[in-house]
């Protein structure tokens, strides 16, 4: 397996605050890697630093061996990197279909119109509700539907690497399940490598091959996800206290 994404000693600062302190991470081609951690641990910042929304203070990020500091932010999409950010960020006054079409904007040189149409059909199969609401303004969708649209928009360009930020945040348990099923399908049917940032540690560990735990900007624990799922420290901090969640699972 070859390395698809490598973060080397990445440091990001916001003013006087260090959001990421010396973070190193590797993602091999075809893997799902989860990044877990509490609110404010720097998970979103990490994804933003990869897609160049926030600048690096120091350190390096390589994608397919290419130093990303040399690539302008708007060209990342054409390289096959797709970022589905936190909070969905769909374009509210554009229609569902326009949102989807824009997802292919960065890949318009490497994809034919036919390929884009085929991906669109696949996304409509994955999330039938998007087909139903194709001509509706994205701002009128419910939270779960917007998350599906954000995912679809991130997938239509046939990315190699998908950066997924909190896809289950604020969704009802049934929708969380649906979103995670979709993530599994995206990985299995399209072979997309995924860097998944999540607060729902249990679900994320169930899908991922490898996981990192981020604590106040530093990687504290890493390992294969099956190993992390049984790690006492992880259990206590991220899996343990959710008796309520267990109750839901049993039902």
């Amino acid at each position: 397996m070859s390395e698809l994404l490598v973060l080397e000693n990445v440091v990001v600062t916001y003013g006087a605050v260090q959001a990421l302190k010396d973070v190193s991470l590797k993602l091999y081609e075809g893997q799902i890697v989860a990044v877990l951690g509490a609110n404010g641990a720097g998970k979103s910042t990490m994804l933003k630093s990869i897609s160049k929304i926030v600048p690096l203070q120091s350190g390096k990020i390589y994608y397919k061996g290419k130093d990303l500091s040399l690539v302008p932010a708007h060209e990342l999409a054409s390289l096959g990197i797709s970022h589905v950010p936190e909070g969905r960020r769909v374009f509210s006054t554009l229609t569902v279909e326009e949102n989807l079409n824009l997802g292919a904007y960065g890949g318009r040189e490497r994809l034919s119109q036919k390929e884009v149409e085929a991906e669109k059909q696949w996304i409509f199969e994955l999330f039938p509700v998007l087909l139903e609401r194709k001509n509706q303004l994205a701002g009128t969708l419910s939270g779960g539907e917007q998350q599906m649209l954000a995912l679809g928009r991130g997938l239509i360009s046939k990315p190699t690497l998908l950066l997924l930020d909190e896809p289950s945040l604020g969704l009802a348990p049934i929708l969380v399940k649906e979103i995670f099923n979709a993530i599994r399908k995206i990985h299995e049917e399209r072979g997309v490598s995924i860097l998944l940032v999540e607060q729902n540690a249990k679900k994320a560990l169930a899908e991922a091959h490898y996981a990192y735990i981020l604590e106040t900007g530093k990687i504290s624990i890493e390992g294969p996800s099956s190993q992390l799922a049984n790690d006492d420290r992880v259990k206590a901090a991220y899996l343990g206290g959710s008796a309520l969640e267990k109750k839901f699972e049993n039902k």
């Binding site: 897609s51 929304i53 302008p72 932010a73 708007h74 060209e75 990342l76 999409a77 054409s78 970022h83 950010p85 909070g87 960020r89 374009f91 509210s92 006054t93 554009l94 326009e98 079409n101 824009l102 997802g103 904007y105 960065g106 890949g107 318009r108 303004l137 701002g139 009128t140 969708l141 939270g143 917007q146 928009r153 360009s157």
Partner: protein, 302 residues
Amino acid sequence: MIILEQLLNGLTIGSFYALIALGYSMVYGVMKLINFAHGDLFALGSYLGYSLLIWGAGAASQRFGLWGGMIAALLFSFFAVGCAGVLMERVAYRPVQKSGRLPLVVSALGVSIFLQNSIMAIWGPRYQAYPASVVPTHAIHLGWLHVTIMQLFILILSFMLMLTLYYIVQKTTFGAAIRATALDREMATILGVDVRKITLFIFFLGPALGGVAGVMNGMYYRQISFVMGWNYGLKAFTATILGGIGNIPAAMLGGLLLGIVEMFGAAYISSAWKDVFTFLILIIILIFRPTGLIGEKVAEKV
């Protein structure tokens, strides 16, 4: 029939407002900046068209005919003012963009003063007049209706320009990228939209349309002055607010509507109060419907 004539007059003036308003609205959309220099770009366009038409004792009109000369002046102004807009963005806006909105507005006011004084320095402080020989002056009569050829030309060209722009912005993928940039430039960048390219496009096209409006305005009234940008800028700004800022069809509607209201007010109440109606509308809209007639269609969901 008087009513119909007034309506046509209103639409003509409204076309000027609409074309200028489009520039305000597009620039506001991608930069969240009221470009106070926009009216002066309109004036610059008027003067550039004037210069081309009187150059070499009307050489353009003699060489290409009456219509050829007019089209040459319009094209020249379109491209020259468009380039001036791009230059303005590069020199006055981009360097201060990261410092926030207030520095941007101050910079815009600076550009406005600079342009106005440059026009005065180059062309002089007195009124200049488009010569009668370079524009069509005759009128046609449709029954009782009396329309000048110039009016028809202005209406047709304006509507063609607006329809083209509407098509680009609302129906093409590039247009969707423009709208996406206006809504969330970070997300647009993530999807592969080169926001800098969009900004350049906007700062070319907005002023270029203003330039065309400037030339048409000169051809219509024939008399131009270096301070005209202020008055037209302010009215077109009112039109932008009236329709709903940041929205392309809204700017068109606002401009046409303002022209009509102004004309009817002048014809049936008093022409001395013409400008009062305009700003009364601005105040009323700001109090009762600050998003404009067709502002945001849906509430943002969090």
